[in-house]
Structures are given as structure tokens and as C-alpha cells.
Subunit: 198 residues, 2 copies
Amino acid sequence: MTTDASVPARRTRLTPEREQELYEAVIELLREVGYEALTMDAVASRTRSSKATLYRQWKSKPELVVTALRCTKPAHAPVDTGSLDGDLHAMAAGFGDGSEVDTSLIRGLSHASATSPDLAEAMREHLIDPELAGLRQLLTRAADRGEIPQDNPAADFMPHMMLGAVITRRLLEDVEVDAAFMHRYIDAVVLPALGFRR
Amino acid sequence: MTTDASVPARRTRLTPEREQELYEAVIELLREVGYEALTMDAVASRTRSSKATLYRQWKSKPELVVTALRCTKPAHAPVDTGSLDGDLHAMAAGFGDGSEVDTSLIRGLSHASATSPDLAEAMREHLIDPELAGLRQLLTRAADRGEIPQDNPAADFMPHMMLGAVITRRLLEDVEVDAAFMHRYIDAVVLPALGFRR
């Protein structure tokens, strides 16, 4: 394996493979020490790269961490199944297939973000906003098909309903959320609150 | 102010006032340094009591912290207003009147509880279970009055709906939950999901 440290700064251009390697190392470190204790020094040392390279490419620790999270978690643009209940259950099916680890990472980051405005902003921009946009799309399609009322006030709380279930499952029952739980929750809470009808 | 340190251990019996003083000091320390960094030494020093006294009375740090939280937050047994929407809106009205601070404390504790089984257990027993029992009572009364179906599956998710709203409000919109938000959420999500009818 080559190291960046020996390469003059201006010539360094990370390959996508090398970037991915760095992201995985960041996630590994996050799991080991948590966000607060994670330093750019530790990332540089673990990945045998220079701190200059890290800062040039990612500017700051919050940016590096959030990009790493975004690029290592499986992408899931919401599927268009043609119906709201189909879309939501397709989304639910993605829970519990290894995403448990992400959940605990994100919990740790949420905690850290309460005291780090930079991290909070990076999380919002790179993790939360894309999810919210996906949910909005899915509801717009449902309203256009006449499956839910155009002006149902519950639509504004869609993010709270979905994210709330994920977070509270662990907090209240001490288990990570899985697909079975999300399927039940969607049928019992989300669809009725939205006034869904086929 | 007298100090415990000078009093022989077996004679020490804390007065309710002295207990309250200790609890307030623990909360103060929690806010200053967080759960992980809070030590029994620091509590002893801040409250000018002996560690022996603290351990005799509370056995462990998780127990002391959770008891302090429980005994300093305003008690709120769910009110019986005679209707489900009345009960829930009465509960909502309690948000935002200074409980913001508790919210951030509890967020910090939730994070800590993920790595401390003792804290998780103490939180469950002293903070979460009493809340859940209150919610169950309120739903049973509503079902007995015929306001909601006896077997509505959403009832099982009542705790997730309520706690989820509180937690995600901050996470998604970066503001603490307040009464106005909870009133809207109850009308838009909770009551429709429960199939409420007057």
C-alpha cells in the first residue's frame, strides 16, 4: 500500500478506492472512540495519510465524518412502487439488515451534534436533508394519486414519525429497530395518521 | 450550612431538604460536565458530603443520577380531564415551561445509557416505566369511554409517538419541543392514529 505522506501536496489526488478506504477507517475509529475523541491525527495515522491531505480534501473533522457516513452507508433513494403503502414498506424492509451499526453511530453523533454546531450543520446538510427530500417526494406522489388528502397536517410530521420510531425503539425497548417493527409501525401509525386510503 | 463529612457515618440520616440540595447539585454537575465525566468525588466535594454517605444512600452513580433527575423534575401524573384529547393536550401544555433543560440532560443520558447497562436500567425503572404506566392508564380510560377502539394497534406505539416527537423536534429542526408543537402533533398524528372520536 502506498502512502500519501511521501507525495508532494499539490500532486495528491485521491483515487475513489483510496477515498473509500479512508471513509471506512473513519467509521472504524468512530466506533472505537466516538466522535468527541476522534482526531484528525488519529485518522491520518490509521490511514497512513498526511493531515494536510485530509484537511485539503475535507476541510474539517465534521465534514470528513459526515461524508464518511454518507459514503459508507448503503444508498437508498426511496423506491417508487406506485403506491404509498408500497413505498413505505419498501423503505421499512431496509431496516435491520446491518444498519444496526449505523444507528448506534448516528445516536452518538446526535449527541455530539448538540455541542458542535459544525457537526450539526454537516449532519443536516448531508444526512438529514436528503432523507427529508425523499420523504417529501414520496408524499407528493401519494397526494397526486389521491391516496392521501393534499393538505393533511400529518404530512409535516412525517420525518418525526419515521425517525422517532427508529430512535425510540432502542431507547424504550433496548433493541435496535428492524424491518418487522417498522412494518407494524407504518401500518398502525403512519398510514392512519396520513389518512391513507387505496 | 453543616457538612456530613464531620458526622460519624452511622449517625448520618439525610433530611429531605439536604437530599434535595444534593439532587440539585448533581443536576448542576450533569449540566456542567455530562454524565460520563461526573464522578462521586465531584458530587461529594460540591455538596461537602462524604463519598461514604453518597454510596450508603444511593449505592451507585447511575442510581444517584436518576434519582436526582426524578426528584428535581416537576412531577406530572397524567391529569384525568375526562376525555382523551383533553388528557393529551393537558400533557402537551407542560412542555416548554422550563423543561428544555431536562430535555438536553435526558438526551445526554440516553447517549450514556447506550454504554452503561446500569444507567440504562436505572433510567428505565425510575424515568421511563412510570411514564409508560401513565400513558397506558390514559389509553385504558379512553377505550373504556369508547373514544378509541379497544384493540387499536397504534396504542402499542403511543410511547414511541410521544417520545419520538420530543426527541426528533430538536434533531430535525434544532429547537427544543414546546407546547405549541406538541398540540399540533397530537391533533395531526396521535389522535388520528389512535382512531379517536368524541
